[in-house]
């Protein structure tokens, strides 16, 4: 039993922390939140050079051959830094989906480019309902000779406005089981018939509405098997969910540290704020929220990397972590008081992200329902 990273991972994690502290100051985070593209090219290039964009890809696709636990280590530091950009869309959604179900040729071509930082990918799954369930996929792709013609509207697609390729999840057959008949298409974002609108979001994440209007895609651009994309998609969402949980743990840990520092420095009623038990109890609650999140996430990541069943563990990690992160940031605001309510403070950067990430990839209610289903088996 070991609740911690190994020595190599600890060094890697510390290296990532140092790197982000230098290369991703909060001024950059703010700038990118306001920026339309939201993707700092210099930082992206450096991360590619460090091998982080291909961290979990095998070496034959230009990656570093890391596992889920390595990814968790890196993600914690990204969360701590409020890293802006396209890691989520390009690596976690697009990259991992291709790794999970692409042909050898697609993997060689696309993953190598992702690892080098040459292309931006995204996954267009959710629609008007915002649901990640198979039944919510209403966008259609109809076969026409060597092509498919896609029609429908995708919503909350991250970074679609700057992506080179959009992996569009579309219904190719109507089956009783909504998980059947779903296919993934690699679509050039500049294809005729695609229109993309950038949405305004609470954390400055670049989410888009993407309308597919008679968009033609060659049959060879199907990723994985026709009608059978769902299981690879589920696998990808599981991996991305663990990564997002780790990112939340890193962010929450930073909020805790900032808030604890503040309680030591801020003098009220002639004594440090942190000497009041009511404040100590907030801090203790934050610690327990974070530790619960951390270990649920680690255990899920470990089980996934050991190829053990982990549907329950991932649902537990996401349900708990995403709500706990929000609570921690709300506690942080309460501890900071008025000064934390100003835009110059950093605490709100985390507060905003916590809510956005809570609803992304299935919120607490959704994940608890997933868990209840598993427990009912």
């Amino acid at each position: 039993m070991n609740f911690d990273f190994n020595d190599e991972q600890k060094m890697f994690k510390q290296g990532a922390r140092d790197f982000f502290e230098k290369e991703c100051p909060k001024s950059l985070v703010r700038q990118m939140a306001a920026d339309e593209k939201g993707n700092p090219p210099e930082l992206w290039k450096k991360m590619a050079q460090l091998g982080w964009l291909g961290l979990v890809f095998p070496e034959r696709y230009g990656g570093s051959g890391g596992n889920m636990i390595d990814l968790v280590a890196l993600e914690e530091e990204m969360g701590r830094a409020c890293l802006p950009g396209t890691f989520f869309s390009t690596v976690l959604l697009g990259g991992l989906f291709i790794l999970n179900s692409g042909s050898e040729e697609q993997k060689k071509d696309l993953l190598t480019k992702v690892a080098k930082g040459e292309i931006i990918l995204t996954l267009a799954l959710t629609e008007l309902s915002g649901s990640y369930a198979a039944g919510a996929v209403e966008t259609t792709a109809v076969s026409n000779k060597d092509e498919y013609i896609i029609n429908g509207t995708k919503l909350y697609v991250p970074d679609a406005h700057i992506a080179d390729y959009i992996i569009c999840i579309a219904r190719t057959k109507k089956e009783n089981n909504p998980e059947d008949g779903i296919t993934a298409f690699l679509v050039d974002r500049k294809s005729a018939g695609i229109s993309c609108t950038l949405l305004k979001t609470i954390a400055g994440d670049k989410l888009c509405e993407v309308v597919f209007n008679n968009v033609k895609v060659a049959r060879k651009n199907i990723i994985g098997k026709l009608d059978q994309a769902w299981s690879a998609l589920e696998q990808t969402l599981q991996q991305a969910t663990i990564a997002r949980c780790a990112e939340s743990v890193g962010g929450a840990q930073k909020v805790l540290e900032m808030a604890a520092d503040h309680t030591k420095q801020r003098i009220v009623f002639d004594r440090p704020l942190g000497s009041f038990p009511v404040i100590q109890h907030y801090i203790a609650n934050m610690i327990m929220d974070i530790d619960g999140s951390r270990f649920l996430t680690y255990e899920a990541a470990w089980r996934l990397s050991e190829k053990m069943p982990c549907a329950k563990e991932i649902a537990m990690a996401k349900a708990w972590t995403s709500e706990a992160y929000r609570r921690v940031t709300a506690n942080g605001h309460e501890i900071y008081g008025g000064i934390g309510f100003t835009v110059e403070s950093d605490i709100h950067l985390y507060f905003r992200r916590a809510k956005a990430w809570e609803v992304t990839l299935g919120d607490g209610n959704v994940q608890r329902e997933v868990l209840a289903k598993e427990l009912g088996k």
């Binding site: 039993m1 070991n2 609740f3 911690d4 990273f5 190994n6 991972q9 636990i69 805790l256 540290e257 604890a260 309680t263 030591k264 004594r271 440090p272 942190g274 000497s275 009041f276 038990p277 404040i279 100590q280 109890h281 801090i283 203790a284 609650n285 610690i287 327990m288 530790d291 619960g292 270990f295 649920l296 680690y298 255990e299 990541a301 470990w302 089980r303 649902a315 537990m316 349900a319 708990w320 209610n365 608890r368 329902e369 868990l371 209840a372 427990l375 009912g376």
Partner: protein
């Protein structure tokens, strides 16, 4: 990173498999079948003072398995941490809860405290007794000293080779069946309260001791105990005179870690899930009710966090890390999760939740109803959740302690 301990046996090496088999066979041979039967039926509270449990514990003791990792010279079996886990898991799997200080297989509070603070002579005297199954009851709380334990007033006056003890303790659970009382007394009333306290071991057969029952809302008995000119030899003092407080703080953190590890909450959640699946309400399976599903999923997550928090302590101890405040986190989590499981469990059971064990029509043998009453004590017994939270914040994040008002000790 690895989380292998969680599934019993799944990751055993060949050697561990062999040892586990040996443990299973030994338990099969040595357990009184009535014990597992009653453990199954009695629910909460675990009757840890029961004679059957005690008899089984003494058999474990004779094998050296109460304290498997202790060296043989102190009555242990000189085994490894892995082997202790296996013994621990296999005993827990039979639904047996051993008396307080036996429950974590390390001699509870007295064992590790003696290991750490006693003289070699005292270790030789007391550790083998603990390993052999001697029962200790904790003599901390008094009518005017609970959470603020250092306010205790039980007086010890030096008289030759002895102390003469006068005063009262309460909530000394199990003291009626125990052999020894692990006793905090005031040896010096003329200094600030933390600095005049000593730690003694009292033989409960000494003359001048009177024990009275106290009845709690869970039906579990506890006791108050009166000392009237009781003589305790000075050689039974652990640590220096007036130096008992520092030792006790260590001992309290050990107690917290052991309090946190009750298997009650996860078992009840399992029972509730089973109940919901088997029960129909308004013509539908209760498990189809979305609110019930959410509630059970929520409880499942929180008992899993409890499991992880407890394993973290084991991992830290085994890796030589100081668990410091993590025992306090486990203790809070155990208390609050158990109370939540009990309360939400009652909500799921509906009207039937109010039926007591033994009533006609009682669901889950009344374990939820009993637990609803029993778990009340957990958020203050062995240190209040409020104290624990301050412990966590001050140790984990270095928050400043609350300034203390200095008050003279009452004489």
């Amino acid at each position: 990173m690895d989380f292998k301990e969680y599934s019993i046996g799944e990751f055993d090496t060949e050697e561990q498999k062999k040892f586990r088999q040996e443990v299973r066979e030994w338990i099969d041979k040595n357990i009184d079948p009535r014990l597992t039967q009653t453990a199954e039926e009695r629910g909460l509270p675990p009757d840890t003072d029961g004679d059957l449990t005690k008899a089984f514990g003494r058999k474990l003791a004779a094998k050296g398995w109460l304290v498997p990792e202790w060296p043989k010279e102190y009555g242990g079996a000189g085994l490894t941490a892995d082997q202790r886990y296996i013994i621990n898991q296999e005993v827990a799997a039979r639904n047996i809860e051993l008396p307080g200080h036996w429950s974590n297989f390390q001699g509870g509070v007295p064992g590790p405290t003696l290991m750490r603070f006693a003289t070699e002579e005292q270790k030789k005297e007391w550790l083998p007794k603990i390993a052999a199954g001697a029962l200790f009851s904790l003599g901390y709380t008094e009518p005017n000293a609970g959470t603020d334990l250092a306010s205790l007033q039980m007086r010890a006056v030096s008289d030759g080779d002895d102390y003469v003890i006068n005063g009262q303790k309460m909530f000394s659970s199990g003291v009626d069946k125990a052999d020894y009382h692990w006793l905090l007394v005031r040896t010096n009333p003329n200094v600030p309260k933390h600095r005049g306290i000593s730690l003694l071991i009292a033989d409960l057969k000494s003359s001048g001791i009177t024990i009275q029952e106290m009845h709690t809302i869970s039906g579990m008995k506890t006791h108050e105990i009166f000392y009237d000119n009781v003589r305790i030899p000075k050689k039974n003092r652990i640590g220096p005179e007036d130096g008992g407080w520092g030792i006790t703080r260590e001992a309290l953190s050990l107690e917290r870690a052991s309090v946190g590890s009750s298997p009650w909450a996860p078992k009840i959640v399992e029972e509730l899930i089973k109940y919901a699946k088997e029960t129909k309400r308004n013509g539908k399976s209760l498990y189809e009710d979305p609110l019930v599903r959410q509630s059970l999923a929520e409880l499942t997550i929180e008992v899993n966090i409890l499991r992880l928090f407890n394993h973290r302590i084991n991992w830290m101890v085994d890796s030589g890390l100081n668990p410091a405040w993590t025992g306090a986190a486990s203790k809070i989590w155990e208390a609050e999760t158990s109370q939540k499981v009990a309360n939400q469990g009652m909500q799921i059971l509906g009207m039937a939740c109010q039926l007591e064990p033994g009533s006609k029509g009682v669901p889950i043998k009344g374990r939820v109803e009993l637990g609803y009453r029993e778990t009340v004590v957990r958020s203050f017994g062995g240190g209040s959740d409020e104290m624990m939270r301050s412990v966590i914040a001050t140790i984990a994040m270095g928050l400043p302690r609350e300034p203390q008002m200095v008050m003279p000790v009452k004489k």
